[in-house]
């Protein structure tokens, strides 16, 4: 799938930044963010239903596929998808593109929802960061988060099938290492080292992105 990109409108509001000896406007660099981020910002800032419709079409089927992997039935998965997408709409003000990619933000909502359904008490979540007053969107920072997400996806695509399965299980389920081992018939030590190897590789990729 090709990743179509849009110009980021916020760049227009940015002040000049120093680049080398000359000063350039950020707008000259025409930073682009992914369409998912663009949609999410349109939902957050202008309650844009068309953008939400695009977000739904992109994420709902992926969420369903993701949740089914935890052993939940298709019907139950759709119930969770519905709750997650409604939360995306209702809590869009909490989306901070400087700190999280859209997919990471939605992943966290989906995990919270699934855990809450299994327990009687709501899952404890960290305090929200207090928003700094008059905080302007920083287009370059948003772009950097987007690019990191792209590289992370690329890193995942380079994993072996075994590593991919092990990581999915680590990030998906209500599954302990022992349960993973029981399910796949692979000894515990092997599973642990697979997860570790896979994660080490991801971390190296991440490290490269952050240095």
């Amino acid at each position: 799938m090709t990743q179509q990109c849009f110009d980021i409108p916020y760049a227009m509001t940015l002040t000049p930044i120093a680049v080398g000896r000359e000063r350039k406007l950020v707008t000259n660099k025409r930073p682009k963010v992914s369409e998912q981020t663009e949609w999410m910002l349109a939902v957050r800032d202008s309650r844009d239903r068309d953008a939400f419709s695009h977000l739904f079409d992109y994420f709902a089927p992926r969420l369903k596929g993701f949740i089914i992997k935890t052993g939940v039935s298709g019907a139950q998965a759709e119930e969770i998808v519905q709750d997650v997408m409604l939360t995306v709409w209702r809590k869009s003000a909490q989306f901070d593109p400087h700190r999280a990619q859209v997919s990471a933000w939605i992943y966290q909502i989906a995990r919270n929802r699934q855990i809450d359904m299994m327990r009687k008490d709501a899952r404890p979540i960290p305090e929200e960061l207090k928003a700094e007053p008059h905080q302007e969107d920083d287009a370059m920072q948003i772009l950097a988060m987007d690019q990191e997400a792209q590289k992370l996806k690329h890193a995942i695509s380079k994993l072996s099938k075994d590593q991919r399965v092990a990581i999915e299980q680590a990030y998906l389920g209500e599954l302990t290492h022992q349960e993973i081992s029981d399910q796949s018939g692979v000894p515990l030590g092997t599973i642990k080292s697979r997860i570790r190897l896979g994660l080490e590789r991801l971390r190296l990729e991440l490290k490269g992105l952050r240095s």
Partner: protein, 211 residues
Amino acid sequence: MTHVQHHIPDAMLKAYASGNISPHFATLVAAHISMCEICRVALGAHEAVGGALLDVTKAVDVSSSLKTDVFSKLDAPFTPKPVFDRSGIYPGPIVQAMKGQEPRWKSLGMGIRQHIISYDKQGSLRLLYIPAGQAVPEHGHNGLELTLVLQGSFSDETGQFGVGDVEVGDEDLAHVPTADAGPPCICLAATDASLRFAGLIPRMLQPIFKI
């Protein structure tokens, strides 16, 4: 923001991100993240991995009514879940675990007090109050114990722990934590098993105090 020196182990942040963690530990992790920007960012990295996995998940068609259902609810009134703010020395997740109530301290002798927040077969979550200069009787651990300092500080064989710091105790750590001079040390302790005390009397008290 205080200068946190001792953080949540990365494996536990991953388990928190994916929901593979008991509610007792989850409360402590969420409380620490409320106090620690470093672990908040590290958790964000794990959520980014989860988000990337969601992004590359094979889409599964959702039923045609799902989108209509979600859109029909966008304008419906809803009651947001209560948000628990920090109260004094207690970060939001601890206030949430205590259901907004003040701790009801019970004396353990020697000026030490505790308030058990929750206790079940998965372990326990409790607050400890240790007067300055007082040592907690030597104890080992049947499983894992995480201690988060909320007020004052304590020291033991492994170092000094101030506000925001987390000490990780496992089967190998038999320690005598002693509250430092200054205000009484108040900690949140989460375990996945009962503690075993070396002294006879504390062991006899164990069933009574559920520690």
